[in-house]
């Protein structure tokens, strides 16, 4: 049952990703990216990451993609891309991609994942609550990166305003 769910959702995610890359119209690409993200959110749920899954949908599939669509429509570009001017670029890219994939599949063995098993077993997470545990970790062990993130976001806001504004 779980495997069937994984295979079907995984297939949707792959289809979504392929759609992003192949569809001519940027709006269609964006929509298929949303498909891909929602499918990933389901996978996250299966991985005991409830909080991340919800955030994925709200922030990513929601806010970020709205921003994307907004910009696409604001720029209102013609759907057609220009003629490919780099001979061999596409063939070479796909060949290299295949090579990379081969390498990743080769390396994707569980015994290549070193590290000691932690304490966050399914039972324990079910008991403590995923959101609570992640939140506690975020504000204890990871508090410094967490605070840095706020600085990053501030800088990003300033940067976005500076870049997008016509005249300062």
């Amino acid at each position: 049952m779980e495997l069937a769910l994984f295979l079907s959702v995984g297939a949707i995610a792959i289809l979504g990703a392929v759609g992003v890359v192949t569809l001519r119209n940027a709006v269609h690409s964006a929509l298929s990216l949303i498909t891909n993200m929602v499918a990933l959110a389901v996978l996250f749920l299966m991985l005991n990451a409830q909080f991340v899954a919800i955030v994925q949908i709200i922030v990513y599939a929601g806010a970020v993609m709205v921003l994307f669509l907004f910009v696409i429509m604001l720029l209102g570009e013609k759907a057609q891309e220009s003629r490919e001017r780099l001979p061999g670029q596409r063939v070479f890219a796909i060949a290299l991609g295949a090579l990379l994939l081969a390498e990743i599949i080769y390396v994707a063995q569980p015994n290549l994942l070193p590290g000691l098993p932690g304490k966050a077993t399914t039972d324990m997470v079910a008991q403590g609550g995923n959101v609570q545990l992640v939140g506690r970790l975020l504000l204890s062990d990871y508090v410094f990166p967490f605070e840095l993130t706020s600085v990053l976001l501030l800088v990003a806001i300033v940067g976005a305003v500076v870049l997008a504004k016509r005249k300062l």
Partner: protein, 639 residues
């Protein structure tokens, strides 16, 4: 307060930072308040530390102040750490106290200068560097203070950088110091190689076990350290920068000569005495160089017409005394003389500054005279300073100089030759000090009519430090009143724990009559010098000229400072300039330019070929990155 002593060096640093960033905007009142206030607080803190130290039992007077781990690279561990012990405490008091008076004096002396805020920034930085130097707990912090002191002297000597002479003097001080600093740095490195640590405690405690007495390593380390000391403390052969340092504002000279900078070398030798004790040869080098420098510089001071230059050579000479003291193992006596010298030399320089202030910058004593009545405050202050440096009985210089002479004579490391040179120097010192008094303040006025009208007593901000320093110069000697005169040698016994491991037992065995007899001889020598000065410059003012003509060659030799600047110019500077010319005009064009042009041409040619790779399309570059990533990943997977 003992464990908060790190505040003491920080205060002037804060003052320097405040004045550097805000000084120009906030006006002179603010600048002087910050500058004097921070140094004053530092002095207050030093006094507090000193009082705290005296309350502790003698053996436990040591406070370590580790601040933070500074450098940690493999075996090389250095903490930024300070320490306070009796030696540091005495230095803290002398440095911050004399500096404070000089700061106050400067507010009057520099009142009209455009670079007021800049001046006090440097001055505060100078005090910070020196306080850091004396409170350092390891050789690297000491080295930082050491270098900062050199930097500040450069900045202050060249303070009036519009004047070429001042800028040159600043550079000269910096470069000559650099020669010494190289030796010092090598010494510090050798210490690390030998002991594996730079902490005072580790080095000094480990030295007796790790190094045999007289071993080559100990001698090399100490000689290298002493090279650094000769640079900072202006000893032969690196003293040449000090006379030129008078190009800076006069209070700066007072600061350099009295409280900071030149005392660093003496302090450092006293601080590292545990190493010097293991190298008898080095100690005898120190003592000999000290004695020779003392005598040599005093002879030059005899004939200088420029009052500041005269004082500069006198400083070199007095520093020679201090090195003579530490060289014969009389560390406490060296520090004692350092203290009293700080008082009376600051007094003399500030007095000279007052005279210059009154005369609109005139420094030639031959153009002064008769100022006694016009500048009574300055006159009396200067007289006290001159008598103190001459060793007039009862004044501070007498006691400290006598302590050195006595130990130079009686210590097993000393000897009659060293003592005799010290004694002769004492006579010369008395002569040139009194000569300055007579030329400047007595006799007929040789002022120009213009200068005559301009003469005025200094403002109270300058007069007050003069008065205080005069009191210190007169009474400072009672800090170390010797046992033989019924005193208790308070300073010596306070410092004793630091120098305990090498108590000069030999001195105890000497007959007390010897010490009194030598004291009498020293007083005789001083009076002889004073009497000659009186004879030549008051009683028979035409005599010096006649004598100078009679001994024309000797006089020219002395007046031209033994031609040392010229010799250094011929032996060191000229060949370097010639080499630079050769490198600049021959080597540079033929070899360097050739190589550079060749490289350029090669790059251009290969670039013309490689340019084809640069399509200008970002996606193309991304593809190359991807290729690289795949290859790197593949390498790690299949290697």
């Amino acid at each position: 307060m003992l464990y908060q002593a790190w505040i003491i060096p920080i205060l002037p640093l804060l003052g320097a930072a405040t004045n550097a960033f805000l000084g120009a905007r906030l006006g002179k009142r603010f600048v002087s308040l910050v500058a004097c206030g921070t140094v004053g607080l530092a002095f207050w803190g030093s006094a507090w530390v000193f009082a705290d130290l005296t309350r502790l039992p003698a053996g436990e007077r040591l406070a370590m102040l580790p601040m933070y781990q500074w450098i940690s690279a493999g075996d090389f561990q250095v903490n930024f750490a300070l320490q306070v012990d009796p030696l540091s405490a005495v230095m803290l008091l002398v440095v911050s106290g004399v500096s404070f008076l000089i700061h106050v004096y400067s507010t009057g002396y520099m009142a009209e200068d455009r670079g007021y805020a800049r001046y006090f920034t440097y001055l505060n930085l100078f005090v910070f560097s020196m306080l850091l130097l004396v409170t350092a707990n390891n050789f690297l912090v000491l080295y930082v203070g050491w270098e900062l002191v050199g930097l500040c002297s450069y900045l202050l000597i060249g303070f009036w950088y519009e004047r070429k002479a001042a800028a040159d003097a600043g550079k000269k001080a910096f470069i000559v110091n650099r020669v010494g600093d190289l030796g010092f740095a090598l010494g510090v490195m050798l210490i690390f190689v030998t002991f594996g640590s730079l902490d005072y405690q580790d080095v000094f405690a480990g030295a007796p076990q790790m190094l045999a007495v007289g071993s080559v390593t100990a001698t090399t380390i100490t000689l290298l350290l002493f090279v650094g000391a000769t640079g900072k403390s202006a000893q032969i052969p690196l003293y040449v920068w000090l006379p030129d340092a008078m190009e800076g504002p006069t209070p700066v000279s007072a600061l350099i000569h009295a409280a900071t900078m030149v005392t660093a070398g003496v302090y450092m030798v006293a601080r590292t005495h545990a190493l010097f004790e293991l190298a008898p040869f080095s100690l005898s080098v120190v003592a000999t160089i000290g004695a020779v420098t003392a005598f040599y510089a005093a002879t030059i001071a005899l004939v200088q017409a420029d009052i500041k230059r005269m004082l500069a050579y006198s400083t070199i000479s007095q520093l020679g005394y201090m090195f003579l003291a530490v060289g014969v193992g009389a560390y406490a006596a060296g520090i004692f003389h350092l203290t009293t010298h700080a008082f009376f030399k600051a007094l003399l320089f500030l007095g000279a500054g007052s005279v210059m202030h009154a005369l609109g910058g005139e420094t030639n004593m031959l153009k002064m005279g008769g100022l006694r009545l016009k500048l009574p405050v300055t006159y009396w202050a200067f007289v006290v300073g001159a008598l103190a440096i001459s060793g007039f009985p009862g004044l501070s210089g007498f006691f400290s100089k006598d302590a050195i002479l006595w130990q130079a004579f009686a210590s097993p490391r000393g000897g009659i030759a060293l003592w005799a040179m010290g004694l002769a120097t004492g006579a010369l010192t008395a002569f040139y000090a009194l000569r300055a008094v007579f030329l400047t303040f007595h006799g007929e006025s040789r002022l120009t009519w213009e200068a005559e009208r301009h003469v005025h007593e200094p403002p109270s901000s300058m007069a007050l430090p003069l008065g205080l320093l005069a009191a210190l110069a007169a009474l400072g000697g009672y800090l170390g009143l010797p046992h033989i005169l019924g005193g208790s040698d308070a300073l010596g016994s306070f410092l004793a724990p630091v120098f305990l491991d090498q108590a000069n037992t030999a001195l105890e065995t000497q007959a007390p009559g010897n010490e009194l007899g030598l004291m009498g001889l020293a007083v005789l020598a001083a009076f002889l010098g004073m009497g000659l000065a009186w004879y030549f410059y008051l009683a028979r003012p035409e005599a010096p000229g006649a004598l100078a003509r009679r001994l024309g060659g000797l006089y020219a030799l002395l007046a031209n400072k033994y031609y040392v600047d010229e010799i250094y110019g011929g032996l060191v500077v000229q060949p370097l300039v010639a080499l630079a010319h050769f490198l600049g005009e021959g080597f540079e064009i033929a070899v360097i330019d050739g190589v550079v042009n060749g490289v350029g041409r090669t790059v251009a040619a290969s670039g013309a070929w490689l340019r084809r790779l640069q399509t200008g399309f970002v996606r193309n570059y991304a593809l190359s990155i991807f290729l690289g990533a795949v290859i790197v990943l593949g390498y790690f997977l299949f290697r």
